[in-house]
Subunit: 347 residues, 2 copies
DNA sequence: ATGAAAGCGCTAACAC
DNA sequence: GTGTTAGCGCTTTCAT
């Protein structure tokens, strides 16, 4: 059978199509009785609006695009998306993930964006945008909202944590526990645009200096793309080796992500290190893995960050300007079983 | 500035709109030179099609809905979605998650479905549909594809694992290790429609019988909704208590999900149990948590399951009928550090 | 190979 | 309050 249209409903209810439209969308200036009649008819015919048709007519798509780096199933992305979805879907929006695998995907998306009336807003998650793209954004008609973006440049609104400050608190914790030789481990296999990495590293570096570490007391283990994903244990023997072979062995270690930290700890323990006896490790995120493995870490709530971003998207789409467009979301240290006081150096 | 439309391109290229339409969509019967001209103009004007307009004109939405229970960030859902997204987005489809929080959400979705030309297909993930809904499905024009649904009833295609067989293999492993007193732990806080639970339990029950367990040798710890999520450690002290107070203490334990198993093991160890010395534990899923905690478990690949489902959705949307509409995806045991031989009973 | 024109189903003036 | 009507931007016969 052919689709039931608004005029079928109109006919069944004995009114005009515009009345049906008004009645069903809850607009005012429609007689309560008429409305009831229309609703009844719509119900009976199992009518629902064609989104394409009303989009076309109204010039609003009721869709918002969510740009995600690499994958939607990662801990942060999935939870941020969840928060975004939660608030937007309740308002009738279709929330459409757009996973960017390579730089070209991003380029293409942004190329089409200026003229793209296919979404009412775009939310970019964890991206580091180059100046070209920021310029495009600034001339855009649809609002662009950031989630954990490195800066707010070119964005109409954003919600993000302060990676820099968070790392600083981790360093201070280690320092106050007596650790003087620190290390920072970058996550293996980074995506081309994932952006928190750099900021966290900088936060670590600067905080280390603040607490009085000389550069030679600080070891940075850079991200190296190797075979296998970050879940692969082999990744971490190389990192452990670098830790072992450092001129002065670090006793306090910050890791870019929980999953990474957990895998590293596993490897370190396998090699006979005592954690937290000999060395303390701090993760980042407070994902489920941190909880189950007893990892000391920095907590953040990506679902809430997503919600905040989506709420701002909503008001922007309504043409309002949010009173506080750029939200900084809180983080907090959670102490578990991988950090402890530094032992006396055996000097 | 107003949106660039197809007629702007037509004008710029000096041809008619229909030619532009044909040229840009790669249809044949268009002169190569003309096509080039049109492409150039489109490029220059930064043109892209309005999805709503072409949907409306063609009667195809280029959208597919993915129905998910509870949350999109859960391990299975997120990965299945990822697989679905991967294949569908490459073909130009918008993949729209639809999270069902309560039964009413599902009811409402299905009520609107029969007349809903707003999506070209719907993929249902992990749902147990009642007969009413199955009946609706059977009269539907758009294809409906299942991912890890309990049955294939009413579905045009599906991809799913055999939960029943998977549990059986777990039970057999325990039995062959000498375990005679078995337990099955349901996941705390189950959703109203998540459906694998029942099948896994049945698989466990039946397999236990097959290997010769009497009913009194088998302990089922049912799911009880308690405060806090499944990540909360407190959940598991209650479960541990049930295990401890059982008439005959089980030494082989199957758990509905990895996360659950990991938390239980943590609690058990805290209480002084030796795993795998005194008791063996097997999880389900082989999620990252199983890997990092060394959990023996049953592996499945939800991304691939999602891909298979999406591939079938694709051919169904093209009007083909897939030669093998109902795919059973493989599972496999992965042995890690939480299973071992049963110790001699101290009789 | 290309163009003209009739919709697709709905919304938003504008009239009554 | 309600009806009429002109589009929204595209696809698709049907001519040419």
């Amino acid at each position: 059978m052919a689709r039931t249209t608004i005029s079928d409903v109109a006919e069944a209810a004995g009114v005009s199509v515009s009345t049906v439209s008004r009645a069903l969308r809850g607009l005012d200036k429609v007689n309560p009785d008429t409305r009831k009649k229309v609703e009844r008819a719509a119900e009976r015919l199992n009518f629902s609006f064609s989104k394409s048709a009303s989009s076309l007519a109204r010039g609003k798509t009721m869709k918002v695009a969510v740009l995600l780096p690499n994958e939607i199933s990662g801990w942060f992305n999935a939870h941020a998306f969840e928060g975004i979805y939660e608030v937007l879907s309740k308002q009738g929006y279709d929330v459409i993930p757009n996973v960017m695998w390579e730089q070209r995907d991003l380029d293409r998306f942004f190329k089409a964006l200026p003229n793209n009336q296919n979404v009412d807003a775009v939310i970019v998650v964890s991206f580091d945008l180059d100046d070209d793209k920021k310029r495009i954004l600034s001339e855009l008609t649809v609002p662009v909202i950031g989630v954990n973006t490195p800066t707010d440049d070119g964005l109409d609104a954003s919600a993000r944590i302060d990676d820099f400050a968070a790392m600083r608190s981790a360093v201070r914790l280690l320092h106050s526990l007596g650790h003087r030789n620190l290390a920072y481990i970058e996550q293996p296999v980074v995506s081309p645009f994932l952006c928190s990495a750099e900021i966290r590293l900088n936060g670590f570096r600067e905080a280390a200096r603040e607490v009085g570490c000389r550069d030679e007391d600080v070891l940075i283990v850079p991200s190296v793309a190797r075979a296998g994903g970050p879940g692969e244990q082999e990744e971490y023997s190389g990192i452990a080796a670098q830790l072992l072979s450092a001129p002065v062995r670090p006793t306090g270690i910050c890791v870019e992500h929980d999953a990474c930290a957990a895998a590293l700890i596993k490897e370190l323990r396998r090699l006979g290190w005592d954690i937290p006896g000999e060395v303390s490790v701090i993760g980042f995120d407070d994902s489920y893995i941190a909880n189950i493995t007893g990892l000391t870490t920095i907590h953040q709530n990506p679902v809430e960050t997503g919600r905040q971003a989506a709420a701002r998207a909503l008001s922007l789409m309504r043409g309002e300007c949010p009173s506080e467009p750029y939200a900084i979301m809180p983080t907090s240290m959670v102490l578990r079983d991988t950090t402890g006081p530094a032992v006396e150096s055996e000097a």
